[in-house]
Subunit: 379 residues, 4 copies
């Protein structure tokens, strides 16, 4: 039999993508499986053996952990990325990272097809595929969960997620402890930032220090997880226009968001911050919707990075029972001027100026009142 | 001696405004003191006696609690009002409420002057005065902390706030318990919303129900306070362009923000939500800066209120150790469609459509890639 | 033969939709043709006869001119709707108007299908269909130009538009004279607005007055057309992500845009205007992309309408050689205060206040400079 | 007599600033006059002599024309800078340019004071002073038109502008011909852009070529002026909250705005353009309000410059009777793909994808309709 060509399949080692692997072979494709290690809890060796035993022509296990943190999570930290005021975009940020390597493998191996196990109603299919099309425009994508012959045959399966959702959400969390069972003594951390990204974390109690991006992120996930930080149960709006319920946990990301917000406001000009806040919201929408690899996301990332040049300094915080409390901050580039703001020191600031400031701001309001008076008189 | 006229002084009963009262009389004014009860912990009777003993011509103690909640806090809840991603605007919302009544008294009493004890570097002076000018354009404002003869004489005082700030922030909190000392058993609440504002709160454990706006807000302050919810230590950007440190506690407001965000996303169309989010950020800036009584804030409030027409339903949440956890939500106007989003039910949704959706979204990205290829070829 | 059901076809009388009519019958459908009169130059009687002769079961010719102006063009005028800074959205606004009636007919006639002649790469297919789905969610849409059996058969046709585009753009304009050939004497108009829409137009020279919406719009099209106003040759970004070239003429719309911008700025508070400007840009994108009938467009229209409550008064303008020149404006609700702004009258305004205003605005800038000085010292 | 110190006065050669020069000397200051040449029609030699004869200690005439175009106008062109949809910011852009040099002179000459002749109700005072404070934070500013002793004495003067405004606006224009009197034959230009700024202008008829920034801008002012391009009569909102009437002419700026908009849309990704459009509006507000030298304006300029990297190519346009008509454009970096957009070539684009795209976009709209149906059923 002639092969229809080679497919690089984003493989998870689970039931779903194993079915897809077998089905793709049935359809006449040569299948290369690719499993990205972005820090998830997985038996990679077992997955490799499974893929081989199911007939994968080649098996790639790729350790993307460091580049995931540096190239994808760090920009999200700089952006204070939050979708719809609550979701910290964990999965949304992982997809382009995984797809980027998948495309690299496909090009290198001369594969004209890529495939994935994302379902036909979700966001992940879009995130995967937009990155694939953006970086490898001629690629053909095989999305079995959108192909009737596939999904009509496999739909009956007990889907892991569906199953999970029928259980109590509390059982779903993998990384975070239930805050009710978490330690009754806080951990106190000092996080040092440079250019808006963490460069060092010190545990004030045991003096433990971490300093590489991957170590920092892993450590914050551990500490956050231990104290039950970053659990949310939300309804969100998918890109395709459905509302769906999501249960997420982002322990390290939550600590970083709080710390970064703090050092950013401390060091960034007020009006720059306001503009940058709008760009951060835009960034979050783009990433959620799968447009990491787009000209507009490149542009926004560039602008946000520019805004972070002076975002440096240390934030002290305590992590306790699901919460992160900022204790203080310190920075060589701070725009906070204790003397200027003090009520006892007048310095260069003349309080009389405030009268003029207020009165000028009131010009418009008083005119508006005057006009309203006229309008009501007329009637 | 001829009186220079009558001043209505926003009086707190404290040292500062007592000094101002005496000083205004010295300057030749008749002084009416006005003390607004917006729910703060205050001995109003003692304050009244003190004002009288210091020579106030009249003393008004005004109970604004209900209108503060309904006319000022509820719109902030509808807006998800947060300044600079963190500050819930407690004080900022109180100022126009207090000033509005002050202006009413001044007009009624024929007073041409109003006065207050806000300092010359802060936001509160602006919030007070913009409302006064907006509602009573001809009023004259006496702001002693901006008048050299006054502040040069009184500057030496041990300012309460300054004093407080030199102590550990933990001692500053009045309404909230330290989460470390808070109960180790959560309270579970069900908050019912209608038109985006809470109309009923039920404590699931003891079945206690509150339903008037003032009762609801007080109760949520109690529950939130008991569990240490809503404490923040931030550096913020004042309207006048200084950064200042603020220690705030908004226990009830924090619970409401989380609950409202949840029911809003559950019931509001995705794209309406996005536009409304932008208006909410605008609203927060306006309120922080003192523009509650402005045409633009009226306009934004109108739009936000319109957006809340379908925001109704119940949110279940637990309050524990400084955190608020959403447990679930339920609404007759929800746009969440379990069947539509289910992975097992196809219904009217055709997964193949997603392929077209993604490919059309990729048209632009692929073109961009093509052009970049051309550019690099040229060089 | 059993009919497959009834289709309501948006019929133009031209070659394209005539082909579609015949093809739909071939496919086994009963076809009702529907031709909307939105003011285009068309022989409606001839079109009716043609449709009947080609086998249409029923033929509807609907005069939508008045509702097109009042329900669709007037909101666009209130919004100052312009897409990508240049395109005045003529066609984009017509589509939902046409589709709305089409859906009404389909429901009334018990038709489960609608069809149109829009091509598969354009915006109009989207505008048509989103309105159909929004107002008649169960409808089935037949878009022949996206169906291979159809377009492979008919693709070879000399497409009218394509043909047109190969000719000089100057020949494309139907409503507007070439400015080089237009009169060398201006027309001077006075347009009166109420609630942000024109209620009366007076030609100052010949005293001709028009006052119904349809008459006003037609008259402005005539005057604008006579003077060559509103021609543009642009490249625009379609919703589907392609750039395309467009040659448009909107003579009446251009006059109204200029006049409305003028009376709006004259009567609307500065900050309300700024917020409304953002909503207008949003509105334009939504309409361009086909989302006229969406919750977010309803919301934005509501907000914009609210903003227009005081937008009333008269604008004088001259129309000449492709341009519209504003000559003056007059309004009972104007916020323009000649005395306040005069350099010779001081009035209630104290110029000293401006010093304070400026100095407070400079606080932040001076601090920024101070910090930059420190930074450079460090290196 | 001891001098109070040295003032650098922004001198215009006119009556106003001559009065200020004399008055400053009366007050005991040494006065250095500084006259910036930014291309205005002025007898600089006469002004120099006048200043000397009035007792200026030193007289600086500075030719800022080239830096005005390159450092100030070009960024405004890149931004498509327009304030309140109509005003092209001519004066607003000139002020920081003039003030920047004034501060340099003050620092170099050891002057602690700067002064200007801008009035106390206008924008220019703010634009001047914010730049001065930003670049020279310790400077003292003397603004005579805000000092009662000065303005009470000089208020009676026949102010040039006031006088002018009482005459017909048509007489006010200095650079532009009345379109009614302008040539009846168009000029046709080709403007070549690189990085979003013009690098070459060719007059197609006489083959005249200009290529330095200053030459290009002067030439476009000439051509635009000759054809009466860029006249506006508007009411605008000043920063201080008053509405004022302005009569402006920006012939060269108007040509550049139209040409730049065209080449930008031709070469810039759609979504980048949308984000950049928002930044351009922000930029315009900042510049209008006098914040050219601010961290946020630096930031926005940086982002806008970044967006212009691919904005290159040629725009052909005709200038005629007050209008600019785009005739065509051409670019090596265009994202316009004639084949992709063609109705006759299918290429890689599958029209069926559009069906999926539309249906997915309709998911949300159909759900919304469903919910509305339920709501109305309930009642």
């Amino acid at each position: 039999i002639m092969s229809k060509g080679t497919v690089v399949l984003a493989y998870s080692g689970g039931l779903d993508t194993s079915c897809i692997l077998v089905w793709l072979k049935e359809q006449g494709y040569d299948v290369i499986t690719y499993l990205a290690n972005i820090g998830q809890d997985e038996d990679f060796e077992a997955a490799q053996k499974k893929a081989e035993s199911l007939g994968a022509k080649k098996v790639f296990i790729e350790d993307l952990r460091a580049e995931f943190v540096e190239d994808f999570i760090w920009p999200a930290v700089q952006a204070n990325a939050v979708y719809e005021d609550r979701y910290l975009l964990g999965t949304a940020v992982a997809r382009p990272c995984i797809a980027r390597r998948q495309v690299e493998i496909a090009r290198r191996e001369g594969a004209h097809f890529v495939s994935h196990g994302a379902t036909g109603k979700g966001n992940d299919q879009i995130r995967f595929e937009l990155t694939c099309y953006a970086l490898y425009p001629e690629v053909k994508i095989i999305a079995p969960w959108r192909i009737p012959e596939f999904y009509n045959r496999f739909r009956g399966r007990t889907d892991l997620m569906e199953y999970a959702q029928s259980r109590a959400p509390a059982d779903l969390y993998l990384m975070t402890k239930n805050p009710e069972d978490s330690p009754s003594v806080p951990d106190v951390l000092e996080i040092e930032f440079k250019n808006g990204v963490p460069v060092k974390v010190t545990n004030v109690k045991d003096s433990k220090v971490t300093s590489s991006p991957l170590d920092i992120f892993s450590y914050l996930n551990d500490i956050g997880g231990k104290h039950g930080v970053g659990r949310i149960d939300i309804v969100e709006n998918r890109f395709i226009g459905m509302k769906s319920r999501g249960i997420y946990e982002t322990p390290g990301g939550t600590i970083l968001l709080k710390a970064h917000l703090d050092i950013e406001t401390f060091t960034m000009d007020k009006e720059v911050r306001r503009i940058k806040q709008g760009l951060g919201i835009k960034f979050s929408e783009l990433v959620y919707n799968g447009f990491w690899d787009s000209p507009e996301c490149d542009f926004v990332r560039h602008c946000i990075t520019k805004s972070q040049e002076n975002v440096e300094g240390k934030v002290q915080l305590s992590v306790f029972k699901g919460q992160v409390y900022i204790l203080g901050r310190d920075s060589p580039t701070s725009l906070y001027n204790e003397e200027l703001v003090s009520m006892d020191v007048q310095g260069d600031y003349d309080p009389c100026d405030a009268s003029g400031f207020i009165r000028i701001n009131a010009v418009r309001l008083r005119e508006h009142h005057r006009l309203q008076g006229l309008s009501s008189t007329k009637q």
